[in-house]
């Protein structure tokens, strides 16, 4: 396989789903079974992405394949380009996206059966896959922003797919607008980058930074640029404080939640941060880490008390994304991406599993009405359990490997810089995660059914739904990533596929452990050692303590859940009542939504109403007032004109008329009389002038 081959297949991967979208959307009304075309397209895309991944990882594992074309130009110096950057992360991501997308397509065949906009649903999935692949493939930040917005669009369309429901259309709108808040920051970052480097291409930007060119010639602005770009990730990956849209996004069809709002789109923020990792300074990384930490912690506490099966999973998604972001912030770059991949599989599995449950329970989402489903839905239960073990970080699962890596990273970061808070919160969240996941499993699948009627009618899902669950559950096992179930370091995933990032931020702005040093090698050529060697060292030493600790907290969390809900050793209600304020605080999601509603939303509406009033009353009032004033003045002038000016004219006319009245007597109107007068006059004149 040649580079061109890879590029061509990547083009196909990008544009096939677009074709699927267009065809399915336009013919959706006419041909009832056109969705099969979209299914075919996504299957081909999946095969193509496997081919690309295979080709890239076997033949060009150390190369970056970059290709670009001119999109448009404005002058000789300003030319905007589009292009691909295909490295190992790209092809792995393409594979993950295509695979989960394909599985979700298959799952949806049964899940969405009977929906009146069945074909349109598949069309939307098509445009989502297109835009997501665009984000993954792009070689420049502008194109990333373009596809970034397009995934926002498909997310909007799919969240609001059942737009007859007000809550669904509200959620779609909220998602789009909240995302835009982050996007503004990202866009500002792009503006700074373009102004400084006159290009959007990641590679060129990084090489310019490495060559010492900085925005506004200051390290400070480099930090700001990094943070601004990261704001895009805050929005898209639902990080605190913009995480509020994701739980609401659960209004969309459940397979969509699995695809977009758990596995792929929300991971785009992490992907962006991975792409810009090279320009992040220590301060920017600190910011990233803090945001990640808060996003891991806050939603985890909220997930403890939620009763909607999808809401629990949504908060858990935010929490896990927080993990990834925190991992990037503390420098555990590889593990962030690793967790992105493993999380994509097990979280998609969890969501599809919840879809299976919801389907079986006739669109019941409240776990308090479930229970005992283990017997009715054995396959769903099994896959759900495996994924839950993975997310909780139990050995032999993929989640254990990636999560352990992140925790070790925070550990190493603590030991290298002294900021232990991330490690502490990381382990705490691991505890909470294990607890709420098993709370969910126990209430849903164990115990006695609460709603017997629905329980009786529940039945296992058909093959097209069971197959994706099985595939995803299988992918949640360690063996795909590394032969050693306790340590991922020796696996192909790490050793060969994921390279350490090239850091380009100036040396003095980096964390100490990330500073590059030039070392003389024995053959006297100098080579740079990057942070990863120092850091990997620290991570190695942190590996076993972190592993045991994380295993301990995971098991502790699980056991607590069993104690609370399975064996009922503790009266949960009583406990909740005894810490009522805390419980309510968590149940009401820290009142963040209410806070935004009361401040930003109300403020915007208030301001708009004030300005609308101002415009109507004041600005237009001035215009109308001026018009009125002019009219008043005109009225006065008119009166003056009528009385004085016209009065004089009329007076003249009146006088003339009066005189005329006297003389008109002579005018008889009879020609003969005039003639007589004429003749007499002539005779008189003759006499007068006869001399």
């Amino acid at each position: 396989m040649t580079e061109n081959g890879i590029i061509n297949i990547s083009l196909a991967i990008l544009f096939l789903p677009l074709l699927g979208f267009i065809v399915t959307l336009l013919l959706g009304k006419k041909i009832k079974s056109i969705y099969l075309f979209e299914i075919l397209i996504i299957s081909v895309t999946l095969i193509a992405s496997i081919a690309v991944a295979f080709g890239k990882l076997s033949y060009f594992v150390d190369n970056k394949i970059i290709t670009e074309i001119q999109w448009f130009r404005l002058s000789d110096t300003i030319s905007i380009k589009l292009g691909f950057l295909i490295d190992n992360i790209t092809v792995l991501m393409l594979f993950v996206v295509s695979l989960i997308s394909a599985l979700v397509h298959y799952f949806s065949i049964a899940y969405m059966k009977g929906d009146e906009r069945y074909n349109r649903y598949f069309a939307y999935l098509g445009i989502f896959t297109f835009s997501m692949n665009g984000i993954v493939l792009t070689h420049n930040i502008l194109m990333m922003y373009i596809f970034w917005e397009l995934v926002g669009l498909s997310s909007y369309l799919l969240i609001g797919f059942w737009f007859e429901k007000k809550s669904a259309s509200d959620a779609g709108k909220k998602a789009f607008i909240v995302n835009r808040v982050g996007d503004i920051g990202m866009f500002a970052g792009i503006l700074i980058l373009y102004l400084t480097y006159n290009t959007f291409s990641f590679e060129q930007i990084f090489s310019s930074i490495a060559a010492g060119k900085l925005p506004f010639n200051s390290n400070f602005w480099l930090t700001i640029t990094g943070i601004l770009l990261f704001m895009g990730a805050i929005g898209k990956s639902a990080q605190f404080p913009l995480h509020v849209w994701l739980p609401d996004a659960m209004e969309g069809p459940t397979p969509v939640s699995a695809l977009i709002h758990a596995a792929t789109m929300v991971a785009a923020g992490v992907y962006l941060t991975i792409r810009i990792f090279g320009l992040l300074t220590a301060d920017a990384m600190m910011f990233v880490a803090i945001i990640g930490m808060l996003s891991a912690f806050i939603p985890a506490t909220i997930a403890l008390t939620q009763n909607d099966i999808k809401k629990v999973l949504a908060y858990s998604t935010v929490s896990q994304l927080g993990y990834m972001v925190m991992a990037l912030g503390v420098g555990a770059y590889k593990f962030a991406f690793f967790h992105l991949v493993t999380h994509a599989f097990f979280k998609a599995c969890l969501f599809l599993g919840s879809g299976s449950v919801i389907q079986a329970m006739h669109h019941e989402q409240d776990i308090r009405n479930m229970g005992g489903l283990r017997k009715k839905l054995p396959l769903t239960y099994a896959t759900f359990l495996i994924s839950s073990l993975a997310i909780s970080g139990i050995p032999l699962t993929s989640g254990f490997l990636s999560k352990d890596g992140i925790l070790a990273g925070t550990f190493a970061f603590g030991s290298l810089t002294g900021y232990w808070i991330f490690a502490v919160v990381g382990f705490l969240v691991a505890l909470l995660t294990a607890f709420y996941m098993f709370r969910l499993i126990i209430i849903t699948f164990h115990g006695e059914p609460k709603d017997l009627h629905k329980y009786e009618h529940a039945h296992e899902s058909p093959f097209v739904m069971a197959m994706p669950l099985t595939v995803l559950a299988m992918l949640s096992v360690f063996i795909w990533y590394t032969p050693n179930p306790l340590n991922a370091d020796q696996g192909w995933f790490f050793n060969k596929w994921i390279n350490s990032p090239t850091l380009s931020a100036p040396n003095e702005t980096r964390f100490n452990f990330m500073k590059s040093e030039e070392v003389k090698e024995h053959n006297s050529s100098t080579t740079e050692i990057t942070y990863s060697e120092v850091y990997t060292e620290a991570m190695h030493s942190a590996h076993y303590p972190a592993m045991f600790l994380s295993l301990f907290v995971a098991v502790a969390g699980m056991l607590t859940a069993f104690v609370f809900y399975q064996w009922k050793k503790v009266d949960v209600e009583k406990l909740a009542n005894s810490i009522k304020p805390l419980y309510n605080f968590s149940l009401n999601k820290w009142y963040i939504d209410e806070f935004y509603q009361k401040t930003f939303v109300a403020g915007t509406f208030g301001l708009s109403r004030v300005l609308g009033w101002f415009d109507f009353k004041v600005i237009d009032g001035i215009v109308n007032g001026l018009a009125e004033l002019t009219r008043k003045f005109a009225f006065f002038v008119g009166a003056f004109d009528r009385v004085v000016v016209d009065g004089l004219v009329n007076l003249t006319a009146y006088i003339s008329g009066f005189v005329g009245l006297i003389f008109r007597r002579i005018q008889t109107g009879k020609v003969q009389t005039y003639l007589v007068l004429v003749i007499f006059s002539i005779i008189i004149l003759l006499f007068l002038f006869k001399a």
Partner: protein, 103 residues
């Protein structure tokens, strides 16, 4: 033998002219007024011819007389048409009664 001179012609034309004026001034019938006008025109014609014959003006007088005759004919035709129309609309040819323009 009394030589017929300029004065004789002038007397005749004066007579004709006076009759014309009298007719125009006194008659109420439009046709009669028109006839007065014709008389005046003919009086003028006689004068033209007379002066042409006895004066030293060449043939201009003849020429004018011919013009006047043609004009008179045209004028009579138009005037009679007007009178006819007036009769049609107002059922009278009395000039005193044709006063629609009077207020």
């Amino acid at each position: 033998m009394l030589e017929v001179g300029l004065n004789h012609f002038l007397v005749v034309s004066t007579f004709l002219f006076s009759m014309g004026i009298y007719g125009i001034v006194t008659r109420k019938n439009a046709i009669m007024v028109l006839m007065g006008v014709e008389l005046i025109l003919n009086a003028a014609n006689i004068n033209f011819i007379a002066f042409s014959r006895y004066g030293n003006f060449g043939l201009q007088g003849h020429l004018f007389a011919l013009f006047v005759i043609v004009l008179a004919a045209a004028e009579a035709a138009i005037a009679l048409a007007i009178v006819l129309n007036i009769y049609k609309t107002l059922a009278t040819v009395n000039v005193d009664e044709v006063d629609s323009l009077k207020e």
